[in-house]
């Protein structure tokens, strides 16, 4: 009887110490996680990015190129050969997350680039690209891109021309 009492007492003490140790362990993990999340949020909030967006109309079968685009004609030809190019609009702004740069393309379309994360865990900038037509969203996508590098979104317009949207962040 006394033996079983002693055993159960010993078991109780060990169980209590295990529970206490686990509690401490969980508390330490929570503290580490909270401090990391806070550091990440603070660094992300403080970092601004220069976000640039350009909208270009590309019409097949014609050779005319907007004079403002003459300097980049050869590169545009790589994207869409045998097209004529016309600048619809361009905007650039230094923004913090979650601000956005909007560009009116003067044909009923507006493109908005929202800064989601100025620097993610893989060293990329996270941007959300949204295309609106008369305030109705037509397209939305999240892009994780290296800084100082352009990427493009392309959409066919009802008149058969292509809408080319170039986006980059520094």
């Amino acid at each position: 009887m006394a033996e079983s009492k002693r055993l159960s007492l010993r078991f109780g003490i060990r169980l209590a110490s295990v529970v206490l140790a686990l509690g401490g362990f969980v508390l330490v993990l929570s503290a580490i996680r909270l401090s990391r999340a806070q550091e990440d949020t603070e660094s992300n909030i403080e970092m601004a990015r220069q976000v640039t967006v350009v909208g270009i109309s590309a019409t097949p079968g014609i050779k005319t190129v907007d004079s403002k685009l003459a300097i980049i004609k050869s590169q545009l030809d790589e994207l869409l050969p045998e097209h004529g190019f016309r600048l619809l609009g361009a905007q650039s702004g230094r923004i913090l997350a979650p601000e956005s740069v909007a560009c009116n393309l003067n044909n009923g379309y507006t493109v908005s680039i929202r800064l989601i994360k100025p620097l993610d865990e893989n060293g990329r900038v996270q941007l959300r690209c949204e295309l609106f037509r008369e305030n109705a969203q037509e397209f939305s996508t999240l892009v994780k891109t290296p800084a100082n590098q352009l990427f493009f979104c392309q959409r066919t317009l009802p008149d058969g021309s292509q809408l080319l949207i170039g986006v980059g962040a520094r």
Partner: protein
């Protein structure tokens, strides 16, 4: 014996905590999908009914990850698609129906021999100057 039992219990609890801590975080957000419903399909003539798992891709689609030095074009014309995928495991089988928009991503990076990253860096500069025109000289 009781000590070993206690240690085993602690290990099991730690394992469960670890799984709870790390297991529910998706390894790649790019593949996160929104589960809508699961429903059984009508029984076939043999009396076998495979459950149907419906998965809807969010309207935002999948994130696009651009690699360093790649020239990427995201086509925004994609129409909603529906794909049926049979899934077999050792004890069960079910059908997964995935539907939603997935933007088409095209890599137009030219061959390494001809590709100059600086070309597109210069394009970036040119585009920035289009957005912020500067008056060079004024009378």
């Amino acid at each position: 014996v009781i000590g070993l039992f206690g240690l085993a219990q602690a290990a099991a609890v730690l394992l469960a905590l670890g799984l709870a801590w790390y297991g529910f975080r998706p390894s790649r957000q790019a593949q996160s999908t929104h589960l809508v419903s699961t429903q059984p399909t009508p029984s076939s003539s043999q009396g076998y009914a495979a459950p149907l798992l419906k998965v809807t891709i969010p309207s935002d689609g999948f994130p696009t990850v651009v690699e360093e030095g790649r020239l990427v074009v995201i086509h925004a014309d994609s129409q909603p698609q529906k794909i049926l995928v049979p899934i077999f495991s050792c004890s069960t089988a079910f059908l997964m129906q995935v539907e939603g928009r997935v933007p088409t991503v095209v890599d137009l990076t030219p061959d390494a021999t001809a590709f100059g990253v600086d070309d597109w860096y210069l394009v970036f500069n040119a585009v920035e100057s289009l957005a912020n025109p500067v008056v060079v000289m004024k009378e």
